[in-house]
Each structure stands twice: as C-alpha cells, then as structure tokens.
Symmetry: D4
Subunit: 146 residues, 8 copies
C-alpha cells in the first residue's frame, strides 16, 4: 500500500490534495502517475516524427504514454482512480479494468451522480471515496493501524 | 477467433448486425455478451433482497452481472468493444482494460469523433473499426483467409 | 457459469435443491463436488495403509480428497460455498480463499447470523444468497438472460 | 522466510510471543499482519460514510481491510495461521486457502482438538505447530541452519 | 482426475496393471506416458542426423522426447510417478519436481526401502502408494465416490 | 503435439509437404498458420480505410494479422518455424521468441548455412530439422511411438 | 522505465549513444545488454570443452549467453531493439517476440528501409525510432515529464 | 545471475569451491542452499513432536526443509545442480524439474558417467559442467563480460 498509482482526471488538484494529505500524516508513500500535462501528453509521439493524420498522431503519443502507464500499473500495489465531471475519461475506466484483471486493488474517487454509470467499475473496487480526504484516511488506516 | 465477446453500447443494433453478417458469411462463430436488457441488468441483484440504498442496489446487481462478464472476458479469444454517442460507457472501457491486461486481442468500434478521447483504449487495440460491416470483414479475413 | 463447484456443508440437502432446481429450469450445468459421504471421506487414505496416529490418518485422507477438490476448484468457473450452523466448516472458508486467489467467482450461501464472522469471505464473493432457490435464480439469470 | 504474515486469532498474544521469540534469537524478520484492533477493524469503512445495514457496513470495512491483507498475503514468503478456541475464524481458513492457491508455504498453529476440523487446511500446510515457541524454532532453523 | 500421466520405471508392467485395473473398474480415464520403448527412446533424435558424440546424441533424443513429456505433464491433471529398484531414475524425480512447480497433484509409487531417499519427492506428493492396485483404488475413489 | 503452428517462409511448399506427409502417415493433426497469401496479408487492414503512409498501412495490416497469429501461437502445442534463403524473415524469429517466452516447444527447419545466425533461435528449440520429411518423422514418433 | 535492455546490432555504437545521451540528461537508468564482444560471445561455451561440430559449439555458447539474455529480458521494464543493415539479426527479432509474449514494452530502432520486413515486430512495439537521439528523448519524457 | 541456488550432493566440497572461486574473482554473488548438515536436515521436524513411524518423521522434516528450498528455488535466478556418485539424489533431479517448470535457468555439474541417466535433466539445462572451476568460469563470464 506504499506504491499507489493515481489515475484519471487531470483538471482538478485531487492528486496534490492526496499527496499533501499523506505527507501531513507522515506516511511513507511513493505515488506514481501518468503524464498530467495535457499538451505534453498529446505531443508525446511528435519527437518520432509528426503525423498529419489525427488518428495516428494520437496513436503514437498514446503508445509512448502507455510505456509509463503500463509499467506504473503493473508495479503499483493500489490504484486511486478519479472520475470528474468533464470529458469522457475512458482512460480512467480502462486503468480500472486493467487493475481488475491483474488483481490489483483500487479505490474509486467520484461524486454520487456517477454511482449508476460507474457501477461496473465500482463492483470490482475495494472502496468508493467521494473526497481526497477520505482517500488519505483510508491510506493512513491501511498503512499505520495496528 | 471463434469466441468473440461483444462489449459496450446496448442501445443500437450493432451486435445483431455483426452476428447476422457473420452468419451470412457462413462463419462458425460463437458470440458471447453481457446481459443487454437494461432493466433486467439493473435488477439482477434484486432476487437476493432489495436495497433502498442506490449504491448498494447497483453494487449487488453489478456483481451478479460481473459473474458472466468476467467469465466471458476470460474465455473469449477476441473482444469487439463498441462506443456509441450516449451515456458514459465506462464499462466498455473497463472491459477494454481488462482485455489489455490479459493480453486478449480486441477491436474497437466507434466513430471518428471519439478518436481523441479513446486514444488510450485504441492504443492497445488490434484494430479500430467504424462500422459493423468492417468488423465482419475482419472476422471473415481472420478466420477464412488462406 | 456451466461448471459450478458446490463447496461446504454436507449435512443438509442444499446441493440436491440447487441441482434439482437447475434441472427444473432446463439449465445445462455440470456440477462438481468433493466427496460428501462423511465416513468415506474420512477413510479415503486407509487403502494406502492404516495409521494409528489421528493426525496422520486425517492427513492422508485429506490429501487424497484434495486431489479431487483441487482439480474441481481449478476447473470450475463458479463456486457456491455453503456455511451451515454446525461444525467448524473451515474447509469451506479454505475453498473460498482458494477461489479468491485464483480469481474464480464464488457465491456464498448462509443465514443472516453469519454476516459478521463471514465478512472477509463475503467481501471477495460475487453475491451472498440465503437459500438454494436464490442460487438457482442467479444461475438461471446468468446463463439464460439475454 | 524473512517476510512472514501472521494470520488469525486476535484474542491471545501468540503474535507477540513469536515476534519477541524471533528477536531474542536475533533473526532478521519483518512480520506483517492484518489490523488486529477489533473495533478499528470493524469500523474501517465508516470513514467513507456510515451504513445502517449491517451487511453493507461489514462489507465496506472488510474490503478496506482486504487491501492490506491481500497485499500482505501476496508479498509474504510464509504465513503462520493461528486457530484459537473461540469464534468462527473463517478468515484464517480463508487466508490459508489463499496461500495454498498462490503456492505460498504456511504453517498452522493450533491445539490437538482441531486436528479433525482442520484436516483440509493442514493437508496443504508445510507444518503444524502447537505453540509459538515451536514456530520460532522452525523459523530459526529455516533461516540460520547451515 | 481423468487425464493421468504415468511417469518413471519402464522395466516392469506397473503401467499395464494400472490401466487394466481401471478398465476393470469401468473408469473413463485417458492415460498418457512418455515413450517406454527403451531403444526407440534413445534413438529418437537419430532421424535428424547421427552424432558420434554421446552427449549430443543423448541430448538430441532427450529433447525430442521432451516435446511429448512436457506437453503431457502440462496437460495431465494427475501424475503417477513410479520408482523401481534399478537405474538412477532421475527423470522420474525430474517429472515430480515439474509437477510440484506447476501445482499438478501427483502420487508416488515405490517400495518402503525408498522412503528416505524419496522424502523430498514424497513431501510434495498427494499420496504414496506401494502397489498398482492401491493406485487403482485411489483413482476409483477420486472419480466415482459420491 | 496435435495442434502445431507452421510459422515462417511463404515462398516454398514446406507447409504442404509436412501436412501431406502427416496425412500419409495417418496422423490426426490440426495445423494452423498465419495468412500465407502475400498480397492478402499486406492488404489485411485496407478494409478499415486506406493509408497513404507506408508505415501505418503496414502497421494496420500487421495488427489484423496478429489477431490470428497471436491466437494460434497461444493455442498451439508445438510450432514448426521455417527459415528459407530469401528475405529478412524477422517475423519467423519473432514467433520463435514468442514461443520461447510461453514455454511452447518449437522445432526449427533450416539449412546448414543458417546454423550460426540462428544459434540463439536454435538454443531454445527442441530440435533442428533440415527437411519437411524430418519434421514429419518427428511428429510421427512423438504422436504414435509406444 | 529505469531498467532497459538493449538488444540487437553489435557493430555500431548505438548503445553507447543512448547510454551517453541519458547520462547527459541526468537520467537514473541502469541498462543491461547481452555480451556484445563478438568473439567472446561465440566462444562462451568453450570453457566447458571444445566441440568440433559447428552446430553444437554454437549451441553450447548460445545457451551460456541465454542465461544472461533471458534473465535480462525478464527483469527489464523496457527493451530497445535495434536492427542494422548487416547480418540476419534473427536474435533481435527473437528478443522482440520474447518481450511481446511477456507483455514487456519495447521500442524498435531501425531505418525506413526496414518498415516492411519489420511490420510484425513493429506491430507489437510501443514505438519506432530511427535514431538513438529519439530513444533518449522518449526515455527522458517517460521518466521525467510531470 | 547474482542469486544462484546450489542444489544436490552434500558429501563433497563443491559448494565451497564455487563460493570461494567466485570470491577470488570478485563477483558479487549471493548464494543460497538447502540445509546441508545431514543430521540437522533429517531432524528438522522433530521440534514439532517426534514420530515413531519412519515415513511420517521423514515427511515432517522434508516439509520443514521444503519451506526454505521452495523459497530459494523461486527466488534464485540460476541453479547449479550437482550429481555425485553416491546415493539416489532424487532431490537434486526434483529441483531441476522444478526449475524447468518455472523457466529458471540451471547448470548441471556431474561426471561423464552420468551423461546417459541424466539426459532428460541435461536436456532442459543451460549448460553441463564437470568441475566447480567451470561453473565459476561460466558465472564470471555471465556477470562480467562486456
């Protein structure tokens, strides 16, 4: 429970809140994450030569990003998977399915309004949290409770 | 390639088109699928006792449905994963991630407008199709071409 | 979902009720089970030579029985695990843990009074049923619902 | 043999005896364990919102606890599994089954009176001990004997 | 328990006794075995060109034989491993280790005199038999006992 | 040994010779193979839309072909991997590496001149044959020899 | 992404360029590689006794080399696989197939002229680079980009 | 190649020769081994209570020893397996089979007289050495050769 992967939404500061909250609790945790800089992420493959075709440009960048994501997912011992209220966020659900197949425990972080559309994702989760603070509490309990 | 799983959208007839198309080509294929009757699926857990709490009712039903989905996903040798233009469809992306982790090949089926939000899902796919007819063509080629 | 293993209690007729209920529904299911004849099971190892020492006699018989149990558990695609109100039934919980580690879905079957002592076992289960009829309903839904 | 997991009974001091005994022998061992504070363990999920329903409250807490248990079980290289004379202790047998499926060696620790009900659990164990002192002896032998 | 592999000694008729015994009991079992014709086995690689060097001739033949042995060992659900009183029979112990690592149950068949030198091999076995008749009894029990 | 995959060179009739040779020996073998029609194989992805860019056209077709190749490689119990005297044939070596990692036995089929460049590929092979007739002999021995 | 394996061509300085480039970027990476001294590699098995037969001499050396290659391939979290313009380089394609089967991400490094013969190898790769500098850029992005 | 397991013969000083030889070469290697003190090994289980029955005494001790052997075998990245000229040494062949099934590379160490009886064990080995010095040479090459 010391190597969590933080997956999903990149437009709010939930990652920072969890990381800072754990630091304040003195927890020895090494978080990993995909690239969260949107432009950098979209342009990840451009160094290998630009493509005019949108599909292949995205494809190339997504595969470069997948090197890190795949490695992180396979090495983490817990994933926190965040669904916000914007965009499709299919990559977050993809990561959840990846964890489920590997048997890696994950916690979802989302509002009540997404209970129904996330029921399959939550069905394989170890917990559903609605705030970064709850995630910090769960991590603290899991790591420090005697 | 004879045991494909059909995952995703349940509001258009893409499943029927693929199944009928394969029959017309004389392909010996045994398709599997999650329960696609929306009300039946949502009520799957009610037989075990009703819950007033929305989360737990969904949770119970989703787990009952997961018995079949998980078994189908682990036994299929190919998945066709369809993203339509309605709803969140996080379960389809979840199935894609599950296949990716298992190393099971999958083909996505979606319109051009979803190229960007599905780039991570497509990055692990063996192919991206835009119509059921294309999927039938790929299945026919894969099974019958000498 | 066509090869369920029936684990646990051997002193009531829950196995027969499930098997008969599925037959009445016309479900094509092949159930497997450990040896449920108590004396035969305890004496399974005697053919290899009797032991005066209780531990070793039990040990030898338990290992003979484990040949079948282990094979059944690894080949089944679903386990139904029954906890009754007598005896320790640690073997049933052992089978549940075995399934959990393999990723094989299982359903528990027990009364309300065991909710608390079975919370860890139920936490990894796909469903908790309180009667054989409910199990039949779940199997019927899982196998036949479109 | 340096990362044993201590599973089972939480109402006697067998964990402390083993840990202290190993320290006295100068063995470099890092033990892990589930949360053994009964009330804290039962309330593990309350931080995510209280449930009136007993089953779901237990379910939520058990899953939070399972994050640590599952991680510990998969990382340990040996489990010591203790069965005392109170309560159902199905979670201990569940952990034994989990280890058996993973191929992780485990040692049971229990009195003679449980030989028969634990025969399936003992059949997959590497050893049966009746006192914490014996466990310490086995650990010492395994780690230090030339 | 319907696909046993018969490993080890090729100079007595223990295989035939087990196969015939099972037929007499009406058991539906499909046995597999390595090539038991000694000369044919030693010459298995000669078709690929003869080698003057003893080591390489044996090496080439052993690898050809390993195609069948490896496939049989990985597909069997039980192995019967026989140690007689002649020759080194390291290949039989090798097969036992292979089964142990795969988690495939095996039964050893040997006389009392070999208890001590086979203690490591027996430690991972599900049973130790001293006659083909005992093996037939165990198979009959495992397959037919209710 | 009844489900061999035939990998590699598509410009000579080695596949036909092996298949015919096995038929003449009355062996019940079900061979599988990638698409061996060169133009069809190169155009496999065109049905999903043509690409002007050479890399992506090849990429798309290679992935469609990989659906069948990957499935065949994972289901086969033996691979015959042929290296001829033309072209780079990196796909044949790729298949060999894939088999090696899966632990699937394979036999190489190539002339003496390739002993040195194929030494790594041969090091993981079960046998090296120089003619289709030798492969048939090995298959016959492996399947029929008592 | 901190333990890359460098596979393939040993006649140009692409390894040195990547290693030096990463050092200049301050990346903490531990590269591994097969033995790249050609004569030493060919003679790896000679210490175990010389063979007159070319095939067996190569075989013995290739197996000694495979101890390191196999260990490196299974421990690396990324492979860079280089195809140059000389020799058959089947060992590089073999390594690529090995990675593909293990699910280990790899990047190919080759010129445009090899797009077509490497299409199957590239189809399973995460990226195709044409210069060591591009590989350094991808590593830098993957390891350091926020 | 830095965590080799030394398996087999305990009556000559081959282990010491290899360990000392590697030290003299300055190789950073951490060797592991089963208990090699014969009396201690045979008495490993006595601490859990003595058995009059020879089989069960050996069984209990062998299982205690298996805790360490199994852990070592699964953690090592190379095994050196020695066959001497005394005793049955079935445990050494068992360890070889265990490694073969896990895909762990191993080197055999034995005299020429055992070429024929060890042909199956050698067929899965990466090398056959006839002296501890040769093993040291192979380790040095594998670890230090550029």
């Amino acid at each position: 429970m010391n190597l969590p992967y933080l997956s999903g939404e990149i437009h709010t500061d939930w990652r920072e809140k969890i990381i800072k909250g754990c630091e304040e609790q003195g927890l020895a945790i090494e978080f990993s994450s995909a690239v969260t800089n949107h432009e950098a992420s979209d342009a990840a493959g451009d160094v290998l030569g630009k493509d005019d075709n949108n599909f292949w440009r995205d494809h190339k960048s997504a595969k470069i990003n997948a090197i890190r994501i795949k490695t992180n997912l396979e090495q983490c011992d817990l994933a926190i998977i965040r669904f916000g209220d914007k965009y499709k966020q299919w990559n977050a659900a993809f990561d959840a399915g990846y964890c489920a197949a590997l048997g890696t425990p994950y916690i979802t972080l989302h509002d009540e309004e997404f209970i129904h559309p996330l029921k399959e994702v939550d069905a394989s989760a170890m917990a559903w949290a609605t705030s970064p603070e709850q995630v910090v509490d769960v991590l603290k309990y899991t790591i420090t409770q005697k």
